[in-house]
């Protein structure tokens, strides 16, 4: 396999690896890893008419809402100072650390850190405070506004709650950022931080965020939850936004051994991020190159990829670009392609980390989760799209793709452990 355009060797100091030892999930079709995975394999969708506010007056009315009472999961003092997406992130962080059996308070100073992906920050919190400002005056803006809205709020709150004092940061690359955050955490592990919590939990289901998202031009106006988000379908007409995501505990194999970890989900084997040239430049979009570079990073020949978790934009021209990239790398119909996000909607910065969780669980259980609602598949000559039923398959290597509006491409290769 070659990657045209690569000058010199892509290898620098990046040696060593990071293993995933814990998962935390909050998803519209299930809270927690077990519930999410069971619902996903049953093909249960969490996409419904919005209940958080009255969507009647908007040109889009469906979303993937997470069903949870945050007060049942978090200390009361945290609720008034956090946006909902931060509450969801704190729930996922707690599950992931518990799943890994990791207690950062019992680890060395600066041995644990956090990298999250964000898109718009705590936007619903922000709407409340903007309303206070404009309707009542500046003196009515909350003392929490300065840090409840800002992009790295989830990293900061997770770091504080779990005493994680090593590297902490947040990246934003629209929907692609979720993979970039995990890649950045992998770098911190390689550079010597024993354990990182990374991924993204995101979502902004308030009217002010809703009109912003509608202006992306990519949100489906369908009112039928079964027909609104149809990637790789002849009837593709946009996506459904949702909330949620996943956080992964990543550590060096040495740290996992030291802690006596007996269950490793997999290895973060490769990653690459690229950016599309400006439309009209005549240059090829960057997705194929991102996939190829991620495979090079993983030292994995393309034929050894067993499953692809697609970005699945649900917009015909974007679906076509993804199919073209997959076909260029793998050949037509050479690898199963799936999009379990058809059951959750697109979760901004949380969607790709949720796909990473799904891919790790798929490798664990030797089953590819389904892509639901696709009745008229559009690219049957080019891709082997897994349908409404899960498909049993022995899986060793998975590729996860994420694209961010504006030209961001990110690809990550996961390898089953052992």
């Amino acid at each position: 396999m070659t990657a045209p355009g690569i000058v010199g060797t892509p290898w620098g100091r990046a040696t060593g690896t990071a293993v995933v030892t814990g998962l935390g999930v909050v998803a519209p079709n299930g809270l927690g890893v077990a519930e999410y995975w069971a619902a996903t394999l049953r093909g249960e969708s969490g996409i419904e008419r919005i209940t958080r506010f009255d969507p009647t007056c908007y040109s889009a009315q469906l979303a993937g809402e997470v069903t949870v009472d945050a007060a049942g999961h978090l200390p009361g003092r945290l609720l008034p100072q956090t946006d909902r997406m931060t509450q969801l992130a704190l729930i996922a962080a707690e599950e992931a650390l518990a799943d890994a059996g990791a207690d950062p308070r019992r680890m060395a100073d600066y041995a644990t850190g956090v990298v999250t992906a964000a898109s718009a920050g705590g936007f619903e919190f922000g709407q409340r405070e903007l309303e206070a400002l404009w309707s009542r005056g500046g003196a009515y803006v909350s003392a929490y506004q300065s840090f409840a809205w800002f992009y790295p709020v989830n990293t900061g709150q997770i770091s504080i709650r779990h005493a994680m004092r090593g590297p902490g940061s947040t990246v934003v690359a629209e929907q692609a950022g979720g993979l970039d955050a995990v890649a950045k955490a992998r770098r911190h592990v390689r550079d010597g931080t024993p354990l990182m919590l990374a991924g993204g939990v995101d979502g902004s289901l308030c009217p002010w965020a809703w009109v912003c998202m509608i202006r992306s031009g990519r949100v489906s106006s369908s009112t039928d939850p079964g027909r609104a988000y149809l990637p790789f379908d002849l009837d593709a007409a946009g996506h459904v936004p949702g909330e949620g995501g996943a956080l992964l505990v990543m550590e060096s194999p040495r740290e996992a051994r030291r802690r006596g970890v007996d269950r490793i989900y997999g290895v973060v084997a490769g990653h690459a991020a690229t950016f599309d040239p400006q439309p009209g430049s005549g240059r090829e979009p960057g997705l194929r190159r991102a996939i190829e570079l991620a495979l090079i990073d993983a030292r994995l020949p393309a034929p050894e990829v067993d499953v692809v978790f697609a970005d699945a934009a649900g917009v015909a021209v974007l679906d076509r670009l993804e199919v073209d990239a997959l076909t260029a790398v793998f050949g037509p119909r050479r690898v199963p392609v799936t999009a379990p996000k058809t059951m959750t909607g697109r979760l901004l910065a949380g969607g790709a980390p949720l796909d990473l969780a799904a891919a790790l669980l798929a490798m664990r259980d030797s089953v590819i989760p389904p892509t639901v609602h696709i009745e008229r598949p559009a690219f049957t000559e080019a891709i082997d799209l897994v349908g409404a039923e899960p498909r049993e398959a022995s899986l060793t290597n998975a590729l996860v793709i994420a694209r961010g509006q504006g030209g961001f491409n990110s690809a990550m290769v996961l390898r089953r452990s052992g």
């Binding site: 902490g168 940061s169 947040t170 809703w210």
Partner: protein, 431 residues
């Protein structure tokens, strides 16, 4: 301390600064910026961007930025938030300064932009439109302008810069509040060291002098209420300091793998020698006076740079002019540098250009790099009555001419983030 090979510590590739672009209060462009800093002039004033009369703090350091004079097109001016405009103009200056245009391989070139507040001014304003000034929770879609999504997710800014640069490598935003301007550079340097790019255009931008920003800092009394003396409102390390003055601006750099810069005969300003970040895991806004985590970040950054603490010629401080920061930071220097804390010149340029949130650290790195370039240390303006608890050398009022080979720049921010970066004279490659 200058290393001889192209390989840095641990066998990593070395990364150097070859271009600088600045949009700052008091002057657009790197030269105007440096003139302001070395003259010790302040750019803080009564807020003119909007009627701030209802607020507790009505002082800020604003940029006199005219987008038409800056060469932006009517479409760019209509579409882009002020933050994106700043980032674009600074990036363009950095590219020209570096002379790297025409020598970039798109797929080996990336862009990383830091920001704390993203498109706050546009979001504040557009919210007022769609909500009819806060009258309705169910905001009106019909009044939503076409570019709203660009303001919702700030990575739109990185995309605009990537198109300017024609970058097709890694592109994105790094956001860690008030440490963004260091952390974005650390991330960009990591990408070059790891071989994911050979050139990164990276830096930070923030333009958030807006009612919602002023209100949220009013609410926690973080900003200065010295409204009757706006020109001397920001007084880091001074006994009379009472909060920071909000600022705005951008600083963008061309960062290159050393071999790439050397082969094309580029002027090298400085090497990014080391960096680190730590979280205090204590409070989203509060700091403990011992500065343990900031000290740990400083020590780690020096270790990575293989610089002994005695070799630091200048510390560009966070110096936000809040009492808790000034004590925290002073404590961190003593803890990390020992007796050298007392003999190393330290200054806060926030005394002159205010605190531009995520952008400020990149502006401070620009000042640090220019201190190396010109061997001049910018002063801490308005420091007339040193706080007795702040007992280090804060370079009051007047710039100091002094050979400057190694600079430490630090930052501390909401979320508990603590960051440090070490810049070093390029040594034998400079000629």
């Amino acid at each position: 301390m200058l290393r001889k090979s192209e390989e840095g510590p641990g066998g990593a590739r070395r990364v150097v600064v070859t271009g600088i672009g600045v949009v700052a209060p008091g002057g657009i462009g790197t030269k105007q910026y440096w003139d302001l800093l070395t003259a010790g002039r302040t750019a803080t004033r009564t807020i003119t961007a909007f009627d701030a009369s209802q607020f507790r703090s009505r002082v800020a350091a604003e940029c006199d930025f005219n987008p038409v004079e800056a060469g932006l097109s009517q479409r760019q001016i209509r579409r882009w938030d002020r933050t994106t405009q700043f980032a674009y103009v600074a990036a363009r200056e950095a590219l020209v300064d570096s002379g790297v245009l025409g020598e970039l391989n798109p797929v080996r070139t990336g862009v990383m932009v830091g920001t704390a507040c993203g498109m706050t001014i546009s979001l504040d304003h557009e919210y007022a439109v769609v909500s009819d000034e806060g009258r309705t929770w169910q905001v009106d879609e019909a009044h939503a302008m076409p570019y709203l999504y660009d303001y919702f997710v700030p990575s739109s800014m990185a995309a605009e810069i990537a198109w300017l640069v024609e970058a097709e490598g890694p592109v994105g935003i790094v956001s860690t509040g008030c440490t963004s301007g260091i952390d974005v550079l650390s991330h960009a340097v990591d990408l070059i060291r790891d071989g994911e790019a050979e050139v990164m255009v990276a830096g930070a931008a923030d333009a958030a002098i807006s009612p919602i920003t002023v209100a949220c800092f009013d609410a926690i009394k973080a900003t200065t209420p010295r409204n009757d003396e706006p020109g001397t409102a920001s007084r880091p390390f001074d006994r009379t300091r009472n909060g920071f003055a909000l600022g705005e601006g951008a600083a963008i750099f061309v960062l290159e793998e050393f071999g790439h810069a050397h082969r094309r005969g580029a002027h090298v300003y400085a090497e990014v020698a080391g960096y680190a970040s730590r979280c205090n895991a204590f409070s989203m806004t509060g700091l403990r006076p011992d500065g343990v985590e900031l000290a740990a970040a400083i020590t780690s950054a020096l270790d990575q740079a293989r610089v002994d603490r005695s070799e630091i010629d200048y510390i560009n401080a966070h110096g936000s002019a809040t009492k808790q920061n000034d004590l925290h930071e002073t404590g961190a220097y003593k803890r990390s540098l020992g007796e050298h804390a007392y003999t190393t010149p330290i200054s806060s340029i926030k005394s002159m250009i205010g605190h531009s949130l995520g952008a400020i650290c990149s502006l401070e790195v620009a000042a640090s790099v220019l201190a190396i370039e010109h061997s001049v240390i910018p002063p801490t303006a308005n420091l007339r009555e040193r706080d007795p608890e702040c007992d280090l050398d804060y370079v009051p009022l007047v710039a100091r001419e002094q050979r400057t080979d190694v600079v430490l720049s630090v930052a501390s921010g909401f979320g508990g983030f603590q960051s440090a970066i070490v810049l070093a004279r390029p040594g034998r490659w400079a000629a």
